[in-house]
């Protein structure tokens, strides 16, 4: 754990996590408009968490002095979101997907960086569980959040 990681690895993993966060923020746009009430409030809250992590990553990667991946105007969604069920299904997918990118940060970081990555992985996993419950998907949990399936 005291081993110094090759900076390129951690930097690449964090840059990948940043692009995943950009995509998640984008996806919550179409998700949010198909939800109402508590679901919509949840979507806002989840999106805010992705935005906070995006901002922190942009700062962190900028401080390193290298290239910071840029956000794009749009991202291809895996399926069209036309109703609540599809919105919830996409929300689950987005959180699982983002969790996988944060999990990939863990092996190449240590200390505070790893702790932040674990907190992000955990937050995404918990949101995936909340969205599965909202969608009445069972079980609401997976055994290894973020692990490539």
């Amino acid at each position: 754990m005291s081993r110094r990681q090759a900076p390129a690895d951690a930097r690449q993993a964090l840059a990948d996590a940043l692009t995943a966060e950009y995509a998640a923020i984008y996806a919550y746009g179409p998700i949010g408009v198909r939800l109402t009430g508590a679901d919509r409030r949840g979507a806002r809250s989840a999106e805010a968490a992705h935005r906070a992590r995006r901002d922190a990553l942009v700062l962190q990667l900028s401080a390193g002095g290298g290239q910071v991946p840029a956000d794009r105007a749009g991202y291809a969604l895996p399926f069209p979101v036309t109703d609540r069920a599809e919105a919830l299904r996409l929300a689950v997918e987005i959180e699982e997907r983002t969790a996988a990118f944060w999990r990939a940060v863990l092996p190449v970081t240590s200390g505070a960086d790893r702790t932040r990555a674990l907190n992000a992985l955990t937050d995404c996993a918990v949101w995936a569980t909340r969205w599965r419950r909202a969608a009445r998907v069972t079980p609401v949990t997976v055994a290894f959040p973020g692990r490539p399936g």
Binding site: A27, R72, E93, E96, S110, R114, T122, T129, V140, R147
Partner: protein, 174 residues
């Protein structure tokens, strides 16, 4: 970044993934700082076989034990309140899968028979049962997060998944 190929549905519980590299030889040699990839020269186990004392416990043994204990707690809760089976069985299975994966990482099998017995059901109704499980998962989340923070890189991903899973259990029990 294209979202069309979903990554990581995370539904598999066995076989894929974590390094199966044995750590035993490294630990026996006292190389506790094992920084990964350095097991090469010692892969012939017979070098240390014979009258050697048993290897020192792996720092992840307690976490694996905690996974087995959590699995047993959930099973005991199901026995006390079978109506909770649908909700708690996947969680019990996840803990058992965690224990297996941690032991794979350690390179030693779980002690036999360790998962049976032990956990006694909490007195009180369903709410008390669930509250006790939530507390146990919350404590478990903290210990797994600590283990993840302290682990060498090659162990961090699995331990992160274990910590995150325990956090989702707290949510699922709410």
């Amino acid at each position: 970044m294209v979202l069309t190929c979903p990554v990581a549905t995370g539904r598999r519980t066995a076989n894929s993934g974590e390094s199966g590299r044995t750590r035993r030889t490294v630990l026996r040699a006292g190389a506790l700082l094992a920084a990964g990839g350095s097991t090469g020269p010692l892969t012939g186990c017979d070098l240390f076989d014979g009258d050697e004392p048993p290897p020192p416990p792996d720092p992840l043994e307690p976490l694996a034990g905690e996974s087995r204990e959590l699995a047993a707690r959930h099973r005991a809760a199901i026995a006390a309140d079978p109506g909770l089976a649908d909700r708690l069985t996947p969680i019990a299975e996840a803990h058992a899968a965690h224990a297996d994966e941690i032991h794979r990482l350690i390179g030693r099998p779980a002690p036999s028979g360790a998962a049976t017995g032990g956990a006694t059901p909490t007195p009180g109704g369903r709410a008390a049962l669930l509250a006790a499980l939530r507390e146990a998962e919350q404590r478990g989340r903290q210990s797994a997060a600590k283990a993840c923070a302290e682990a060498p890189g090659e162990r961090a991903a699995l331990l992160g998944s274990v910590a995150a899973a325990r956090a989702t259990h707290v949510e699922a029990l709410t």
